[in-house]
Symmetry: C2
Subunit: 312 residues, 2 copies
């Protein structure tokens, strides 16, 4: 579909020139900004940077589905939230949850996360991987009518390939679930599972009924989550090198962009701006600080409307 | 020095045949045990498996050195342990610490770890990396008279190259410090930093005095540590695939070996036995359970004395 040798899905704007110019500079041995291959690390946020995040985070749909599946097969859990609300499709409860989030009261929202953790508890890595893969392959987005895993931003996928072809190690650093992304990262981005960093629950170890050793999901969320200052912390722990290229779209990506842009050599920070209501969505909520920060620094703001030939 | 195309530093024993036979089986498309490249994951313990761990863990020497450096430059910390004992070279205190460990009283041993964490607090990833690299490059082992980083087991280094050449992703899963190993892993094992898993302290994020974003060491140890059941847990979190090949030498590696050997297809588990007092050390302490476990399972026990042509 695309060679990745150039950025054919990007319009010929200053944005594209800046990206191509940067990659040429750090990969040209005769350039003073040349960076050896082992130090070419790029990190990408996922939701809203590599695939769509509206009207709901894709993963939130997944969590609610799993809560519903558990509630359908287990009448006991239906006596408590969020299983009851999901089972009864209690729209009033969900509206209250959303209203709470807007007012800073996360009680109901956190109960959804806790319910989801309970719904996945005890699953092995392989079981969870198959489950998430099945969801992303077979569940369609209401507006675009295609499975979620097809709703990646194709110019960004092309950019990942372009960086791969230029000797970069490309990582995903998602504020969302690491293992959820890992189920499809190889297929949709050509990014191996171990190059996907993210938030997730902690694992436990057990010997199962067949005497086999298993690593299984617990209900405890690993700290820190991979968002805001947690992003550079996760990057440090996993990669052990400062990225020289980073891309995000929201306030949760500010620290990652600061971290990449504090590199002593030439670095590039991209901020994806959702300004295309026709082909995707136009919104700035959750990105107000990042867009403001971009003005005062030299982050490159990517306009989905003007810089991309196509979205999906 | 070595091609890695074969295992030239291994004697022609049944052990070598078993390793070569295994690798042939999983890499031969026509073999029923063929494993696609993406699933060829190998995990190696480090201390006592890839390099020497006697008379002291190499890293313990490093921690004590750093405690001494801080004590030498800061008279205030000398009023407390372990800084006082290291600064005064108080052998009685260290003997008590060792005696405590033998009796199950870890008070003094834990104070050494806490002191070391304090001595490294605030260092950035790059600073720590340079510091550890310098130590491993310039500090000589008392018996073998060469820098620590040269005291890798060369047949095991050859085995890593052999697995690389056969399409394996090779990871280190050290119970010891992850970032300590990362400082030399590329040079001594050809294993990229991000393929080194281990125990370590948690990181923090800050903007330094020059306005640069930094990821720095805290004093809090990340849980779980990468030992015993923590090994498969770290492997699951980092790699997200079950290893089909694992190598260890001590009781802390049992769960990792169980995890690899619970693979539904053909798998190989190696247990390195330290039985060569002349060329290295002969000991079973800390490996009693693992050696016992190996008898009842089909782990391959490697005799350093009989299976290896050379050690270092």
């Amino acid at each position: 579909m695309m060679s990745g040798d150039n950025l054919s899905l990007w319009n010929d704007t200053p944005t594209k020139s800046a990206i191509v110019g940067y990659v040429h500079a750090v990969t040209d041995r005769n350039n003073t900004n040349f960076v050896p291959e082992v130090q070419r690390v790029a990190t990408f946020d996922n939701d809203g940077t590599l695939w769509l995040e509206k009207p709901l985070y894709v993963q939130l749909h997944y969590l609610i589905r799993q809560i519903g599946l558990v509630a359908a097969s287990n009448s006991e859990v239906r006596t408590k939230q969020p299983f009851k609300a999901v089972y009864e499709n209690d729209q009033a409860w969900f509206k209250e949850a959303a209203a709470g989030v807007a007012k800073g009261d996360l009680t109901k929202a956190m109960s959804i996360l806790a319910g989801a953790a309970e719904a996945f508890e005890g699953m092995t890595i392989d079981e969870f991987n198959s489950n998430a893969y099945d969801f992303l392959t077979n569940t369609k987005d209401a507006r675009f009518k295609v499975p979620y895993k097809q709703l990646t931003y194709k110019p960004m996928v092309e950019l990942i390939h372009y960086l791969h072809n230029n000797g970069f190690a490309v990582y995903i650093t998602s504020g969302g679930g690491r293992d959820f992304m890992r189920s499809v990262s190889e297929e949709i981005y050509s990014i191996p599972r171990q190059y996907v960093i993210g938030s997730d629950i902690e694992y436990g170890y057990k010997i199962d009924g067949q005497g086999k050793a298993q690593v299984v999901r617990t209900t405890k969320v690993e700290q820190p989550i991979d968002n805001e200052s947690g992003k550079p912390i996760h990057i440090g722990r996993t990669i052990s090198r400062r990225p020289i290229f980073a891309a995000g779209n929201s306030d949760g990506d500010i620290e990652m962009l600061q971290y990449a842009k504090s590199h002593s050599g030439l670095s590039l920070g991209l901020l994806i701006q959702h300004d295309d209501a026709e082909r995707e969505y136009a919104y700035q909520d959750g990105a107000e600080k990042a867009l403001h920060e971009a003005l005062g620094s030299d982050w490159l703001v990517v306009s989905m409307k003007n810089d991309w030939k196509q979205i999906f």
